[in-house]
């Protein structure tokens, strides 16, 4: 925990929020045997009651009340995330995704929120070198991993070769999907270098060491949607970056 909350510009809301006492422990819940009733069980139990079998309802109702209260009490968690080589401490709601942690609490707004459902790829970041959708990754799960965002790719003023290729080949129009596209392409080059296959590799029979053809690039980038349809230039940028990486 090398960074205190007060160092984080976007965390004022959090640092002003009182920490609920004893917020996390499981044993704060009622006895397990009372807490196991799901809503479905409850509804079923209530149905039985209306049919005239009354025993047990107060207990079920109490358990349901406990479940509802457990399901509505705020749950926070203290975390340390290693982002672009820097340890960042923060206390957040357990529901916070890595995407929201980056954007809302750590002021790393390069990573974009598109669909927020793992369908568009705008939120793509690298976790331990692998591209993932940060909108479907809980920040809590990412603790202990090396997270790289678009802000972490360049060395000072020297762009990452994939960033430079996107500039050179005009691989964007509005630019909103671009950070995700670039993070995705960086991982794509590594996946190809180590010999990973795609479904196109099977369709073309190139199942040993597939060439990074335009079809392979399109398939391997299909998790990143571009509403401006800058696809031809994105493919050109990835192709150029791949050739640069080989030379």
């Amino acid at each position: 925990m090398s960074t205190s909350l007060s160092d984080l510009s976007a965390s004022e809301e959090l640092s002003n929020r009182e920490q609920p006492e004893g917020h996390a422990p499981c044993d704060a819940l009622p006895e397990a045997s009372d807490a196991v009733f799901s809503r479905r069980t409850f509804v079923k139990g209530a149905g039985i009651l209306s049919a005239g079998v009354a025993s047990g309802l107060p207990r079920i109702a109490a358990a349901e009340k406990a479940r509802v209260s457990a399901a509505t009490a705020p749950q926070t968690i203290a975390l340390t995330l290693k982002i672009n080589g820097k340890q960042q401490a923060l206390t957040i709601d357990t529901r916070t995704t890595l995407l929201d942690a980056l954007r809302e609490y750590l002021s790393l707004t390069g990573t974009k929120k598109g669909c927020d459902h793992g369908q568009c790829g705008a939120c793509t970041v690298l976790v331990d070198g692998r591209r993932v959708n940060s909108c479907l990754t809980l920040a809590a799960v990412a603790q202990g991993s090396e997270i790289t965002t678009i802000e972490g790719l360049a060395h000072g003023d020297e762009l990452h070769p994939v960033q430079a290729a996107f500039l050179e080949h005009d691989g964007f129009q509005c630019g909103y999907c671009t950070p995700g596209q670039i993070c995705s392409a960086v991982a794509l080059l590594e996946e190809h270098r180590r010999g990973d296959l795609s479904q196109v590799s099977f369709q073309t029979g190139q199942t040993t060491t597939p060439q990074l053809t335009d079809n392979e690039i399109r398939e391997r980038m299909s998790g990143n949607i571009c509403r401006c349809a800058a696809y031809p230039n994105i493919v050109a940028a990835v192709r150029a970056a791949a050739q640069g990486a080989r030379s």
Partner: protein, 331 residues
């Protein structure tokens, strides 16, 4: 998304204990489906048990050729593992046909087995009528837009289809699922793992709520030389199947010695046709044979208003997949 407690499990027993004592707790692996469903309020666990740090991420092969895949192995790593690529290319091809690189990097073997249906009405809580979410409430899909739904194995209670590509290949490869519960370990045949809906569509698998998937076991490979996963969908990439076919052939010259033929996206579970397989065994690997098998495979199909096209699509897809498998398209 409802609030939840977050816990990391260090051992399977710890994870199992957590869900045994709190039935509103759920295991969290890759999260590609669960977190999405929680955002839509379809799932609302009060505790998430993070099982990403359990040591079940290995792929190992026994001397007899049996291969064990840890439940925590990511889809990308499974599809690209040398043993799987060489001995079970059908599984590699099926996995790489699904989702995107990002999602495959996150999704696990165990999680993919537990993937929920993509039925629009199940995924949209604006519809209270859904027998999976609210047992006894009815089925919106049967009177709604049911283009992606089942034509085989459905019931009056539910017509949802299983969306997984991996599952179709695992059924074709005759996998076994190893699980652990509070009382110990047991095994479930892949072909028995997913349940038909009947009157209880909210119970989707043979896995009990307090059981954890540990590994998936594949018998020695018979179809390394002749297999194919054909996926037909609205887009070329990153789209769920309308129909898929996983097939493997063991050939003796041009005669079919043994075969697996399983359909995806047409039923609530990977749909194996024993009759079609029986018709193929001992027959020559020709278009005629394949067409007969295709007819048998969709016997009893009951289309909904918007998915009658799936019957013909399944038949032509079966013929094409068998033809490509016989050619050894992957070699």
């Amino acid at each position: 998304m409802n609030p939840f407690q977050y816990q990391r499990a260090a051992a399977p027993e710890e994870a199992i204990h957590a869900v045994t004592t709190n039935r509103a707790a759920k295991f969290l692996a890759g999260g590609t489906n669960l977190i999405d469903l929680m955002k839509s309020n379809v799932e609302h666990p009060t505790t998430l048990i993070d099982i990403n740090h359990l040591s079940f991420t290995q792929i190992t092969s026994a001397p007899d050729g049996t291969t064990a895949i840890g439940a925590g192995v990511r889809n990308t790593d499974l599809a690209n593992h040398q043993t799987i690529r060489t001995n079970y290319p059908l599984l590699s091809q099926a996995i790489l046909s699904g989702a995107s690189a990002q999602l495959r990097n996150m999704a696990t073997t165990g999680g993919n087995l537990m993937q929920r249906t993509r039925c629009y009405y199940f995924n949209d809580t604006a519809y209270s009528v859904c027998n999976k979410r609210n047992p006894g409430s009815g089925c919106s899909a049967q009177i709604g837009f049911n283009r992606i739904h089942s034509i085989l194995g459905a019931s009056g209670s539910c017509i949802a289809s299983n969306p997984s590509d991996m599952n179709v290949a695992l059924a074709a490869l005759n996998a076994t699922i190893h699980v652990q519960g509070p009382k110990g370990k047991r095994s479930i045949a892949m072909r028995d793992f997913h349940l038909l809906p009947g009157a209880t569509p909210h119970i989707e698998t043979a896995l009990k709520p307090d059981e954890l998937i540990l590994s998936v076991e594949l018998p020695p490979s018979k179809f390394a030389l002749h297999s194919y996963y054909l996926k037909v969908r609205d887009r070329q990439s990153y789209s769920f199947a309308l129909v898929s076919v996983a097939t493997g052939l063991e050939l003796d010259g041009t005669t079919i010695k043994s075969v697996a033929l399983v359909l995806g996206a047409v039923a609530p579970k990977p749909w194996r046709s024993a009759e079609a397989e029986k018709a193929l065994v001992g027959a020559p690997a020709t278009a005629d044979t394949f067409r007969k098998a295709a007819d048998l495979a969709v016997t009893g199909a009951k289309p909904q208003k918007y998915n009658a096209f799936k019957i013909e699509l399944a038949k032509t897809s079966i013929v094409r997949a068998l033809t490509l498998a016989a050619q050894g398209a992957q070699a």
